[in-house]
């Protein structure tokens, strides 16, 4: 299908700022869904609140635009009631890991078949550029004019430690890789996390000496490295991209069905 068949054209041009990386994530997600030929009716996209979360207004699948930080809780409800549907949850870094941090780790631990996408722009875009748990020490934000003290979470390590079955990372510069990882994540039976480094030129860029979306994407290009291309003894301080975890662990909805089946037989 054409890209325009996956969007609600009446809401375009969309509200994201010029060069906002969230548009590139939406673009990639549409391609991933199209390549996989998943019928639109089989997809439920659930988001919270934030610039990133506006994606559910634009993509023409079943969508729920819910509460800040709580998208995974709503998504879990949808998935448990209709396990045959594909549930995709795009989140901002604040949404996923500040207010939504507990939902995130427990969703990963349960390993319910949901695809979580962390659109990581390292800042609260929607509310004016406050620092987030992904900003990292030394960065500037509207609430850290002299520099942020807090170190950042590593989304990949966090998701891995919490038990997610599939964990990957890419950026808005590396679009073909991003599409491939999204396809793998959506196909994976279990809780999948794809962190996508995304640019907020309006706040993160302005506060941190990167004037444009292009500068920020150049930064993704120069300062990240594919896992597959790391030579032995590699010690450079670059952000790694690729698939970090891909394991089949018992999936929550299947286990739930199993318990129902055995309880119905009178077994305990």
């Amino acid at each position: 299908m054409a890209v325009r068949d996956y969007i609600r054209q009446r809401f375009f041009p969309h509200l994201w700022c010029p060069g906002c990386g969230h548009g590139i994530v939406m673009n990639g997600l549409i391609r991933a869904i199209d390549h996989m030929a998943i019928p639109k009716n089989d997809i439920v996209m659930v988001s919270g609140i934030g610039c990133s979360s506006r994606i559910t207004g634009y993509v023409d699948v079943h969508t729920l635009h819910t509460l800040h930080g709580r998208a995974l809780a709503f998504a879990a409800g949808v998935k448990l009631s209709r396990p045959e549907l594909r549930v995709i949850v795009p989140m901002g870094d604040g949404d996923a890991l500040s207010i939504g941090g507990n939902h995130f780790i427990h969703a990963a631990r349960r390993n319910m078949d949901i695809t979580a996408i962390v659109m990581n722009n390292r800042i609260y875009g929607m509310t004016g550029g406050q620092f987030s748990p992904l900003s990292g020490s030394g960065t500037q934000a509207s609430t850290a004019p002299f520099g942020n003290i807090d170190p950042a979470f590593d989304v990949v390590s966090l998701a891995k430690a919490a038990g997610a079955g599939f964990v990957a990372r890419s950026t808005t510069y590396h679009v073909t890789e991003m599409i491939d990882l999204l396809k793998q994540a959506i196909s994976h039976r279990g809780f999948s996390v794809v962190e996508i480094l995304s640019q907020c030129p309006t706040y993160f860029g302005k506060h941190n000496g990167m004037e444009s979306a292009v500068d920020m994407m150049e930064n993704f290009r120069k300062n990240t490295k594919s896992l597959g291309k790391i030579p032995e003894g590699y010690s450079e301080d670059k952000v790694l991209r690729g698939v970090f975890v891909n394991e089949n662990r018992p999936e929550y909805c299947q286990e739930y069905e199993r318990i129902i089946a055995s309880a119905m037989k009178g077994e305990t």
Binding site: M1, A2, V3, R4, I7, F12, P13, H14, W16, C17, P18, G19, C20, G21, H22, G23, I24, M26, N27, G28, I30, R31, D34, H35, T172, Y173, V175, T176, I179, S212, A213, V214, M217
Partner: protein, 75 residues
């Protein structure tokens, strides 16, 4: 198979002039026009890599090539 360009369509009403497509185009095909919208200035240099289309945050650019049906990206 080598792709042959048929058209580069730019939706000027959706383009926000971010310059991402222009900056990263390997063939230097694109430029910004006088209204700060993307413009396909040298289509003959296009290698149909699709990168501009895939990296556009505004879904404003579409590259149509002759093997569209077998293209990795359908649009």
């Amino acid at each position: 198979m080598k792709k042959i360009l048929k058209d580069i369509r730019i939706n000027k009403a959706w383009c926000k002039g971010c310059g991402i497509c222009v900056h990263f185009c390997p063939g230097k095909v694109l430029e910004m026009d006088e209204n700060d919208k993307a413009n396909a200035r040298y289509p003959e240099l296009c290698i149909c890599c699709m990168m501009c289309e895939l990296r556009c945050p505004d879904l404003a650019i579409e590259v149509i090539s002759d093997d569209e049906s077998t293209d990795e990206v359908s649009s």
